[in-house]
């Protein structure tokens, strides 16, 4: 619609305008609006339009005015004549110029068909097969060959069809499928039963590649779905033979290998033409609902470990102390053996000197006298149990 409107504005001349106005009158869509896109008609847009005709089709209510002197069909005829290059219209220079010596209609047909033929062959006979691709060629439905990379030539369509298959790309399918929102929130895709009837939450991905393009193209109705179903089945079968602890911990690598083998076996049975490059278990954990209990276990392990190391530390300390004291005793005892009496007295005096020099001392002459409290030294420790030491009558000297 845009283009004719544009025309009507910039190249106003009678032929086009009358036709356009005729069209627009029939088009009830625009006619329903009283105003044109450029405001109500001023008549100047129409330029040298004939006076009887509607100056501006938008300015008139539909059917409010008779169509005037410009009948649609006659204008159409005129237009068609112009378009054919007849130049029979009243407006000068409006039609296409006629090329002198132009080919006749028959020749034109031949040229057109020829161009079409060339285009057809060019578009459907040459196939550019990328280095990662193979082209599976079917001649009238029957498989004939697989094209190697390069520019390849075949018979044109519809006799020959070439399906390009990417054999180098390694496709990755993740489970659960994070691309579709429908299954993303579905727990059942992730939760699997282990052999000890526990539930494990698994995220994994499968990397695969097309190994045989023609098998891939012809053998399986829905290769992608088949692959996914196979992966799920194989993974669950393998998980069902493993314990929860294996699935969560050390058994993962072994499981990946098992799943890969199982999938390959199944797909080979279907002749799917798919090679499984690898299976990767991205995450294996307990279901979220019991995650706390699992954390408790690891917390308990940590605590047990710390208990044990604390005990080990204590043991080290005790033993070292014992060994140290024993060694010290041994050394002193060796000296003591050489001169028992002197050593003993020396040690006694040394100790007493050290002890008594730092203490408050009260010496009471008569053994029957009990000193009145508070004694000068005792005021500093009023609440402590009485540090009064009954003086040893014969300390250590027990010979």
């Amino acid at each position: 619609m845009r283009l004719p409107l544009f025309f009507a504005r910039t190249h106003p001349y009678k032929g086009f305008m009358t036709i356009l106005s005729g069209w627009f009158q029939r088009l009830s869509i625009l006619a329903a609006d009283n105003k044109g896109p450029w405001g109500s008609g001023s008549g100047s847009d129409n330029g040298g339009g004939d006076s009887g005709g509607p100056r501006n089709p938008w300015a008139q209510p539909p059917g409010g005015k008779p169509r005037g002197t410009t009948p649609g069909p006659s204008a159409l005829d005129e237009f068609l004549k112009r378009a054919r290059g007849g130049g029979g219209g009243s407006g000068g220079g409006g039609g296409r110029p006629r090329i002198p010596g132009a080919p006749s209609a028959g020749q034109l047909w031949v040229i057109a068909v020829g161009i079409l033929l060339v285009a057809w062959i060019a578009l459907t006979s040459f196939h550019s097969i990328g280095p990662q691709e193979r082209g599976v060629v079917t001649v009238l439905g029957r498989y004939s060959e697989t094209l190697e990379p390069g520019i390849r030539f075949t018979l044109p369509a519809p006799f020959v069809e070439v399906a390009k298959v990417d054999v180098a790309a390694i496709n990755t399918d993740t489970f659960p499928d994070d691309s579709s929102a429908v299954t993303a929130g579905k727990d059942t895709d992730k939760l699997m039963l282990t052999s000890d009837q526990n539930i494990v939450d698994l995220d994994y991905s499968v990397r695969w590649q097309i190994a045989n393009p023609q098998d891939f193209a012809f053998q399986i109705a829905r290769p992608r779905e088949t692959l996914r179903a196979t992966a799920q089945s194989a993974m669950r079968a393998v998980v069902a033979t493993a314990t929860l602890d294996e699935a969560i911990g050390a058994g993962r690598t072994a499981m990946e290998v098992k799943v890969q083998q199982a999938m390959q076996e199944i797909l080979d049975r279907y002749n799917a033409g798919i090679r499984i490059q690898g299976v990767a278990i991205k995450g294996a954990q307990a279901p979220a609902q019991v995650a706390d209990a699992f954390k408790e276990v690891s917390a308990a392990q940590q605590q047990a470990q710390s208990d044990i190391s604390r005990a080990r530390g204590y043991a080290q300390q005790v033993l070292a102390k014992a060994q140290g004291e024993a060694a010290a005793f041994d050394v002193i005892y060796a000296q003591y053996k050489l001169a028992p009496e002197v050593t003993r007295r020396r040690m006694y005096y040394d100790t007493m000197e050290q002890v008594l020099s730092k203490s408050d001392k009260t010496i009471i002459e008569s053994p029957g006298v009990v000193p009145y409290l508070p004694l000068p030294g005792m005021r500093r420790v009023p609440s402590a149990p009485s540090p009064v030491v009954a003086a040893p009558q014969t300390p250590g000297v027990a010979q």
Partner: protein, 287 residues
Amino acid sequence: MNRALLRNPIALGVFALVLLILAASTFAIVPETRQAVVLRFQQPVRTINEYRPNEVFGQTGAGLTARVPFIDRLVWVDKRVLDVELDNQPVLSTDQTRLEVDAYARFRIVDPLKAVISTGSTSVTEQRVQDQLKPLFSSSLRNELGKRPFAALLSPERTQVMGNIRAGLQKLASQYGVQIVDVRIKHADLPSGTPFDSALNRMRTARQQQALTIKAQGQQTAQIIQAQADAKAAQIYADAFNKDPDFYDFYRAMQSYRYTFAQDAKGQTSLVLSPDNAYLKEFQGRR
């Protein structure tokens, strides 16, 4: 056909159209992925590109084929491996565990004639076959799983279970000209709700118990280590001090005094001494 006819574009067009229709109803392209049954007045005449095991692409029956126009009718049947999926089939195992099983069967129509006849020669043979197989599959799945305890599904026996289902389904499916390539259990899960929650609960309590056990074992080990250390220390002391218990008594007493009455020990020490004290023996002068 005279020149006048050739010159007349309308006649030429009609003639070309007739030819085109005739060609279209005579020739058909059979792709590698499909097989066809030719019905002549609804009477099966032959099959085209029928599946044969171990065939090599390029030497199959695919390609251009001709038939008697307007009399022969082609019924197309997919030649590839197709699938039937069962979702959330409730199954009760012998130990009364309710299970929800998703399973799929992969099959191939190996006898298109049988398949077409048994499904009423429609253009959607595969769909019909799938619809027919579904209940059969479901019942053979239940039959097989109902004969086994739940634990069988969680063991290598699972493969055998699937093999049995396949065999059972194959017997029933042969009438449709179908070969069951494979039957596999995708999911075998506890149904959501009580069974699932109780399984989770079991896991939770098992883990809590494990946690307590680990803690207790840790404490036990720690205590043993401490006790052993104490014993070892006692042994070391005894070995050393047993050489002279009397000297040990004295030696240890001296050590103890130093520690107990030392300046930096807690509290201030005040001593009330008797002149009879051994230390003060000389204080009084020799008697």
